[in-house]
């Protein structure tokens, strides 16, 4: 094993070691040792990732297997790494955000009895996510995919005595099963048609794959790769919360805030985006699949944004904003602008983690009050949180020079230039989405940090049940340094990363062969023609339609929530049906509960009553037992105890043997 291979191994294994120590021996080694060991693990992973980054930057890449886990026939199940620029970017994002969240957790969870368990889980998550992004084959990808899902499940239900948390984690688990079912079908189809699960081998067989067809219903012939890509994308829809499999993400806010930042904003939910980007050679072949991706993404981007407008829980606003932004990334995938999608993934990871952690900081400051209607005027009480939140919000709405501007504008431009089916619809969605994003972001920002202080009245009734006894004082105050330091550290890339990275990532062929875009689909080529420098793009950004829309959104929010706070309620009454539609989240949950949940319960009941109780228990199990018992009684009847009958039996035996075999001699 070469030096670099060892280094690659260290990256995922260091957090795993930390997770094992904190998880298995947490009670033994205590709280401080638990967070030291896990933070150390993630820090090692981060440093190693930086080293790998420099190595990759120098032009090296790696694709190889470290260990063969099992072979089934010709199918090899291996543990291997594919280290290229796409991977290393994900590694850096994951380890950096994870490190920030680890540090933040010291402050956020310090009074929680499950302190060690929490650290163990987030380190385990980091390990799983790294395994996912570093994989060079579908098996390891699926392993990481499921492992992050598992940790997500565990963390949403972290406060396992809270019934809403248990409901939420079960929901997340079940909805993700639907997605994983599709994902697994896709992997299965690939394995069946290529006999390999290795990325490189699969991609090398593309020419033969792209002409294959399979029949799904009756005799209709479907291009194999379209089916494969849609199946894989269904997996991505589950993990990256795209309509209609998005329903679990808002509920996942039941988990502690640090994991909302790490898992449900920055990293895990982007796994789907990453996976589709990895599979870009496959998706490039199928226009149908890309159109499907595009429509789903555009729908998510706009309609989930609408829902953000009416939320009053600070975390749920951010959650719906995450859904909407994931929609933007998916739209980029749909128009073959994979690098723009990944670029937005990266910038979003920083500013969304920042926004979530800032929300957590506000929650601490407010003594676990999460309703933004009971906040206000916090800017002078929590200055660091205020400034960093402002930065995060500006980045989110795509204010020029901020990170989000470069990525989001690129996506919008790419959609405008694309000819993919559904691109027009998507363009409308993403444009309106800009206004909506700005509106709900600044609605929250104004309600939390500006305006009248509304928390005095509310404070008496707001009481939390998971222990923040250490916080004294009646008024909100700035959080401890372990909480605000990550905010500051995340604010830096939220400002500069777009400016620094857009050149190489989007137009500099930085990703090289990691991402494959066919000539005809290259929507970014149009942008490239006009792109001179990041500075120029930002300056130009002040004169574009999206900027105007964003400013309009901010202004509307300011007018509604700072100048005339009574307007929103009036609008809600005036547009009653629309408001109710939004309030019920387009009735997705209701529909799922009535159709899928109740339906499967009814189906399960049929199987249980008819299949299990009647056939298996009644007929097979008890029936067999009864028959055997009956036989036993009959045999018992022959055991009379009379000697002459016993002797007679022997004679019968002799005669039988003689009759059968004597005659054959």
């Amino acid at each position: 094993m070469s030096e670099m291979e060892k280094l690659y191994l260290i990256v995922p294994l260091a957090p795993l070691v930390g997770a094992i120590f904190a998880g298995l021996f947490g009670k033994l080694i205590g709280r401080t040792a638990s967070h030291v060991v896990t933070i150390l693990g993630v820090a090692v992973a981060f440093v190693a990732s930086v080293v790998v980054f420099q190595d990759v930057q120098a032009g090296n890449s790696y694709n190889g297997s470290i260990y063969t886990w099992a072979t089934a026939g010709d199918l090899r199940l291996e543990l291997g790494f594919l280290i290229d620029k796409l991977t290393v970017m994900m590694m850096l994002v994951v380890t950096f955000v994870s490190l920030m969240v680890h540090i933040y957790t010291i402050g956020y969870m310090h009074a929680d009895p499950g302190y060690q368990r929490f650290f163990s889980y987030i380190s385990l998550f980091t390990f799983s996510m790294l395994m996912l992004v570093m994989s060079n084959n579908f098996v390891q990808l699926f392993f990481g995919w499921e492992a992050v899902g598992l940790v997500s499940y565990l963390l949403i239900g972290f406060w396992y005595t809270k019934s809403t948390a248990i409901y939420a984690n079960l929901k997340a688990f079940l909805v993700n099963r639907v997605g994983d079912f599709g994902f697994l079908l896709g992997i299965g189809l690939i394995a069946a048609h290529t006999g390999s699960l290795d990325y490189a081998t699969v991609f090398s067989k593309l020419p033969e794959l792209s002409v294959k067809t399979i029949s799904l219903f009756g005799d209709s012939a479907w291009p194999l790769l379209t089916v494969v890509c849609i199946c894989l994308f269904v997996g991505a829809m589950g993990k990256s919360a795209q309509v209609p499999l998005h329903v679990w993400l808002p509920d996942s806010m039941e988990g502690p805030t640090p994991i909302s930042a790490l898992i449900h904003a920055a990293t895990m939910v982007t796994a789907g985006i990453f996976m589709v980007t990895r599979m870009s050679p496959l998706f490039e072949v199928s226009e149908t699949a890309r159109a499907f991706v595009l429509v789903i993404g555009a729908t998510t981007a706009l309609f989930m944004g609408f829902l953000g407008i009416i939320q009053n829980d600070i975390k749920r606003v951010v959650a719906y904003s995450t859904l909407s932004q994931l929609g933007y990334m998916t739209v980029a995938l749909g128009v073959s602008a994979y690098s723009a999608a990944v670029f937005h993934l990266m910038t979003h990871a920083f500013f969304k983690a920042l926004l979530f952690l800032a929300a957590g900081s506000v929650i601490i400051g407010m003594h676990h009050e999460q309703d933004i209607r009971r906040m206000g005027g916090l800017w002078k009480r929590m200055p660091i949180t205020w400034i960093t939140s402002l930065i995060g919000s500006l980045a989110l709405i795509g204010f020029p020079f901020m990170a989000g501007f470069f990525s989001k504008d690129s996506i919008i431009e790419a959609v405008a230039a694309s000819h993919t089916l559904g691109a027009k619809y998507a363009y409308a969605c993403v444009l309106i989405g800009v206004f909506v994003t700005a509106f709900y972001s600044f609605r929250m920002y104004f309600l939390v940090f500006h305006g009248r202080e509304r928390f005095h009245a509310a404070h008496a009734e707001a009481h939390d049940d998971h222990g923040h006894g250490a916080h004294g004082g009646e008024v909100p105050h700035e959080s401890p340094w372990v909480v605000w330091l990550p905010l500051v550290l995340l604010a830096v890339p939220s400002v500069v990363i777009g400016y620094l990275a857009i050149g190489p990532m989007l137009f500099g062929d930085w990703f090289g062969a990691s991402i494959v875009v066919h000539e005809g689909n290259n929507a970014l080529a149009h942008l490239e023609a006009h792109f001179t420098s990041a500075f120029g793009m930002a300056i130009h950004g002040f004169m574009t339609l999206p900027f105007a829309l964003a400013m309009a959104g901010v202004a509307t929010a300011a007018y509604f929530y700072l100048v005339k706070p009574e307007i929103p309620a009036r609008i809600a009454t005036a547009f009653g049906p629309v408001y109710r539609l939004l309030e019920n989240k387009y009735y997705f949950d209701r529909f799922n509960e009535i159709v899928f949940a109740a339906g499967s319960r009814a189906l399960g009941k049929v199987f249980w009553k008819a299949g299990d109780q009647a056939v298996i228990d009644g007929l097979l199990v008890n029936g067999t037992a009864k028959i055997i018992g009956g036989f036993a009684q009959i045999i018992r009847y022959f055991q009379t105890g009379h000697l002459y009958q016993y002797a007679f039996t022997i004679i019968i035996g002799v005669v039988v043997l003689l009759a059968f075999w004597g005659s054959r001699g």
Binding site: Q633, L643, Y646, L657, W661
Partner: protein
């Protein structure tokens, strides 16, 4: 015929046990007050010394003596060692039990020793006369032992039934032997084999002879339809005697079956294979089904023993395909031998547990007597759990590997012959094992999940407790490392 001085050294173990039994007879006649204890210790010494002698005095190569009546080989040596060892265990388990019931007269010990001698002779016999001699020596001693509790009508009834049916079976066996003699002109097993091979024998008569000889063997093994005595005798005999009847004689009967059928009458393999199959299927089905209905644990173990013997026969008959042997045959025979040895280990421990729960004035013989054993003695509940799991064929206990190797042999025969019949046989055996699991696990269930009816403490001596624990633990140990016993079986069979 000239008299040739036989090579006595080859028969040293038998001669030693015979001589010692006469010594013990004398000693107990004179040592009035300590006769019982002297008899016990002398018997134990004799048996353990015999184990030593069989293992270390025998020749590695096959050798005959007493004009071809007696054969000395590794197979016999190993099986005799197992027999002597298990009889020694039987004596230790049964000592307190017999004493509590005042039936531990010196004759008991002498009779047990004579039975052991009979088994040893039977194992080493290679001549119909010596086979019959050994068989009757063993059987007569067992008849008397079953009826030893002579004031107990159940015991005497059982002894009577055993004797009458055994006499009938002996008569049939003798009849078969005489037919074979008539057909081949010899009583020596190898000569008979030779004659039949040369086709100087009248086929019809030979097959008739085979049937009757087979009945004699089947009766001793207690397989269907010659099993009717088994439940009544196991039930009626004092438990210590049941322990003896159920264990070592099965080894001797296996040796007898192997020597007569495989070594002597292999040219009739096509015939006896089908007969054994019939007997095996009948035993496995009937034994397991009937055991389900039993509430008396001694009867339950009796029926379970019938099914186990059926399993063993299944292994024995798998060594033949279309009348031919092959390389796989060794596996089949050694699987049967492994099964017999494993069964003896398990049955000793099972009846040992029944004895353990009995005490002066109380006869533990119902499954219900095991209720709540876990509360009374978690350790022995655990031991019984091992025994029952092993009998049920749950991995990783010796009973599992015994069943597994037999099934492998059956399937191998199916693969070689290409006949689906073998697969059906294996399937049936597995299915019936599943039925069997029910009544074994029922014992486990009552031990752990029911409340104790009888709460008095266990009275067994330290020696019995230790030995019983060692017995049960060895079932687990051999189950974890089954290979060495399997290799011994294959090795001794090959020589």
């Amino acid at each position: 015929m000239d008299f040739v001085m036989p090579d006595f050294r080859l028969a040293a173990p038998e001669l030693f046990v015979a001589a010692m039994s006469l010594v013990i007879l004398m000693v107990t006649s004179f040592a009035k007050s300590r006769a019982r204890s002297a008899a016990f210790w002398l018997c134990e010494f004799t048996l353990l010394a015999a184990v030593f002698l069989t293992l270390f005095s025998g020749t590695v190569d096959r050798a005959q003596t007493f004009s071809g009546m007696y054969i000395s080989d590794l197979l016999g040596g190993f099986l005799k060692a197992v027999v002597c060892l298990s009889v020694a265990v039987v004596l230790q388990y049964g000592r307190a039990y017999m004493a509590d019931r005042k039936i531990d007269s010196p004759e008991y010990y002498i009779l047990v020793l004579f039975a052991a001698l009979g088994m040893m002779v039977l194992i080493s016999a290679s001549h119909f006369v010596s086979i019959y001699l050994g068989l009757e020596l063993m059987s007569l001693a067992l008849y008397a032992l079953v009826a030893i509790d002579r004031d107990n009508p159940r015991s005497t009834e059982a002894g009577m039934k055993y004797f009458v049916l055994g006499a009938l079976a002996s008569g049939l066996l003798l009849y078969g032997m005489s037919m074979l003699y008539g057909a081949t002109g010899s009583l020596q097993i190898h000569e008979i084999s030779q004659r039949i091979y040369e086709r100087s024998a009248n086929d019809m008569v030979v097959v008739f002879g085979l049937v009757f000889v087979l009945v004699g063997i089947a009766f001793k093994l207690g397989v269907v339809p010659f099993h009717m005595w088994v439940p009544d005798v196991y039930h009626g005999a004092p438990t210590a005697v049941t322990l003896l009847v159920s264990s070592a004689p099965k080894i001797a009967a296996f040796a007898m079956a192997f020597r007569i059928l495989v070594l002597g009458l292999f040219d009739l393999a096509e015939q006896w294979q089908m007969m054994l199959m019939l007997l095996a299927v009948g035993s496995i089905v009937l034994g397991n089904l009937a055991a389900v209905a039993q509430t008396n644990i001694k009867r339950m173990l009796a029926y379970s023993g019938i099914s186990h013997m059926g399993f063993m026969l299944l292994g024995l008959m798998s060594g033949v395909v279309k009348g031919e042997g092959g390389t796989y045959a060794v596996n089949a025979y050694s699987s049967a031998m492994f099964y017999a040895v494993a069964y003896v280990m398990m049955t000793l421990a099972a009846f040992g547990m029944v004895i353990l729960l009995s005490r002066a004035g109380f006869e533990a013989e119902n499954v219900d007597d095991f209720k709540g054993l876990n509360q009374r003695s978690p350790w022995f509940a655990g031991m019984m759990l091992i025994v029952m799991f092993s009998m049920a064929g749950i991995p990783f206990f010796v009973g599992f590997f015994a069943k597994l190797s037999v099934l492998q042999a059956v399937v191998a025969a199916g693969n070689v012959s290409g006949q689906a019949l073998y697969y059906w046989l294996a399937g049936l055996a597995v299915l019936m094992s599943a039925v069997g699991a029910y009544y074994y696990l029922r014992v486990v269930k009552v031990m752990y999940f029911d409340d104790a009816v009888d709460t008095s403490p266990l009275t067994a001596t330290l020696g019995t407790r230790t030995l019983l624990s060692a017995n049960a633990l060895s079932i687990a140990a051999v189950g974890l490392l089954p290979n060495w016993l399997m290799q011994i079986c294959a090795f001794t069979l090959l020589h």
